[in-house]
C-alpha cells in the first residue's frame, strides 16, 4: 500500500521504518512533510478545510506514484494526504521515497510533490479573521510541475 487519503495525522517515523525495515539495499530515504502555516500570502489564518474527490483522489495519487516509479529506480514510495479540518502547525501531506542513491530519492520526492500539487483533486479553504476563502492555484506550482515534462525543456 503506497498511498493513503485520510483524516488522521500520520507518523513519519513509522512510515519511514516501514519503507526500510529489513532492507539492506536502500541507501537514501527522503521525506517531505507539508504543514499548515498560520500566515499565508493573504494574511493570518486560524485554520483550513481540505476538500477532496473520494475515489478520484486515490486514483490520481496511484497514478502519480506509478509515474515516479517509472522515472526513477525506487525501492519504496509512500504518499499520505490528509483531508478535513486542519489547524496551523498540523500536517497536510507526507511523501517518502527510498532508493539506492540520493539523487533518485530527492528527485522523485520533488516530482511527487509537484504533481500532487497540480494533479490530485484537493481544494483548500482557509479560515481567517474576515471569514473563509478558497485558495487560488499558484502559477509557481504549475511551472514546477512542467519542469518534469520533457517537451517543455
Amino acid at each position: 500500500m503506497s498511498i493513503s487519503v485520510q483524516r488522521e495525522p500520520f507518523d513519519l517515523a513509522r512510515e519511514s521504518e516501514r519503507l526500510t525495515a529489513g532492507r539492506h539495499d536502500v541507501g537514501a530515504v527522503v521525506s517531505f512533510t507539508g504543514l499548515v502555516r498560520a500566515s499565508t500570502a493573504e494574511g493570518h489564518i486560524t485554520g483550513m478545510e481540505l476538500e477532496h474527490y473520494p475515489g478520484m483522489t486515490e486514483r490520481a495519487l496511484e497514478r502519480i506514484v506509478a509515474e515516479a516509479r517509472e522515472r526513477w529506480p525506487l525501492e519504496g514510495v509512500r504518499v499520505i494526504h490528509r483531508y478535513g479540518p486542519l489547524s496551523p502547525g498540523e500536517q497536510i501531506v507526507l511523501v517518502l521515497t527510498a532508493s539506492r542513491h540520493r539523487q533518485a530519492a530527492f528527485e522523485a520526492a520533488e516530482f511527487l510533490m509537484d504533481y500532487l500539487k497540480t494533479r490530485a483533486p484537493f481544494w483548500k479553504r482557509e479560515h481567517g479573521p474576515s471569514g473563509g476563502r478558497w485558495v487560488d492555484a499558484r502559477d509557481a506550482d504549475e511551472s514546477a510541475a512542467r519542469r518534469w515534462e520533457p517537451e517543455s525543456s
Binding site: G34, L50, E51, H52, Y53, G55, M56, R59, A60, H81, I92, V93, M113, L116, K117, T118, R119, A120, P121, F122, W123, K124, R125, W134, V135, D136, A137, R138, D141
Partner: protein, 82 residues
Amino acid sequence: MQVLYFAWLRERVGAAAEEIDPDGARTARQLIERLRDRDPRYASAFADMAAVRVAVDQEMGDLDTPIDGAREVAFFPPVTGG
C-alpha cells in the same frame, strides 16, 4: 449521469452531486451549456470557464472531453492540495 461539484463550484451550484440527464450533450462544455440554460445558479458557477476543470469518470479531462456513456462527470476549480 451523476454530476459532481467541488469547492466553490459546489457552493455556487448549491449541491455536491446531482443526477442529470445529459439531454444530448456530448462534451463537458455542452453539458455546462445545458445547465446554464436551466438555472442562474449554474450561470454563476460557470461564469468563468477558464477556472473550470473537468473529470470524466474520475479521469482528468477538459471541456471538450466526450461524456457519452460516462457514469460520472465532475466540475471543480484548479486543484490546491499538497
